[in-house]
Amino acid sequence: MQTIPIEHGLILASILFSLGLIGVLTRRNVIFVLMSLEVMLNATGLAFIVASSRWGHAEGQVMFLVILTLAAAEVAIGLGLIIQMYRRHQTVDISVLSEMKG
């Protein structure tokens, strides 16, 4: 069995995390923002799996499951909010939400 250097897995996770962060910070379409958040959460899960593979334990997979449920709940609420926002403003531009008018 060949081996994989553990830092390669973690570097991959951090690259994915940074890409997701760029997406969250730059995009104005709120659906893209939510998708980039998913990328970030997924990168975190990858880091957990790499760590659990490092020790040969199952705890990392348990944490991944918790992240998965977190992501599912977050997406459900986030998409509900997007639908509500689209009904009120007829746009998916996230910057309209910064205009707080009473």
């Binding site: 060949q2 081996t3 994989i4 553990i6 830092e7 390669h8 897995g9 973690l10 570097i11 991959l12 951090s14 690259i15 994915l16 940074s18 890409l19 962060l21 760029i22 997406g23 910070l25 995009r27 379409n29 659906i31 893209f32 998708m35 980039s36 998913e38 997924n42 899960g45 990858l46 799996i49 790499v50 593979s53 490092r54 040969g56 199952a58 705890e59 990392g60 997979q61 348990v62 991944f64 499951l65 918790v66 998965l68 449920t69 977190l70 992501a71 599912a72 709940a73 997406v75 459900a76 609420i77 998409l79 509900g80 909010l81 997007i82 639908i83 509500q84 689209y86 998916v92 531009d93």
Partner: protein
């Protein structure tokens, strides 16, 4: 196996890059699904088949379907693609790019001198479930409450 890891890693990075650079939302979603599946392959290589399958079932199969469903409901067609393109031309890329690059550099710096060759050992479903319904049963309960809360609030928010 090891070559599969690197192929999947390259696919994941490129498709994630496509997600954040894409202006067509449906194409971006397909790239995101591809990225998630590539990560699932990485999980399998790293000896976590259960997590890999859950990634494919829950992430790529259920959560992304929700996204697609909402995109269909909102009917974001060609106009939104053009709008998206006009938004992406702005110079808003610079500062976030620099910030993310600094973060990445920091992480690489930290991880660079951490050298350990991991030998993927398969950790099957049984071990994970024993842990889940043993010491981590509270986490399962919390997750289920979280899902219930998400269900109720999503229903409340999306209702007319």
């Amino acid at each position: 196996m090891i070559i599969l890891f690197y192929i999947a890693a390259i696919v994941a990075v490129i498709s994630t890059l496509c997600v954040i650079l894409q202006s067509n939302i449906v194409h971006a979603l397909i790239y995101l699904i591809l990225s998630l599946l590539a990560v699932a392959v990485i999980f399998y290589v790293l000896g976590a088949p259960f997590a890999a399958m859950l990634e494919a079932i829950v992430y790529a199969g259920a959560i992304m379907v929700l996204f697609l469903f909402v995109i269909m409901m909102l009917n974001l067609g060609k106009i939104s693609t053009d709008q998206e393109r006009s938004w992406m031309k702005s110079s808003g890329w610079v500062a976030p790019g620099i910030m993310a690059a600094i973060l990445l550099a920091q992480l690489l710096n930290v991880l660079g001198d951490y050298e350990y060759d991991l030998v993927p050992v398969e950790v099957g479903v049984m071990e994970v479930s024993t842990l889940l319904f043993g010491p981590y049963v509270l986490a399962v309960e919390l997750a289920s409450i979280l899902l219930l809360a998400g269900l109720v609030s999503a229903y409340h928010l999306a209702k007319k």
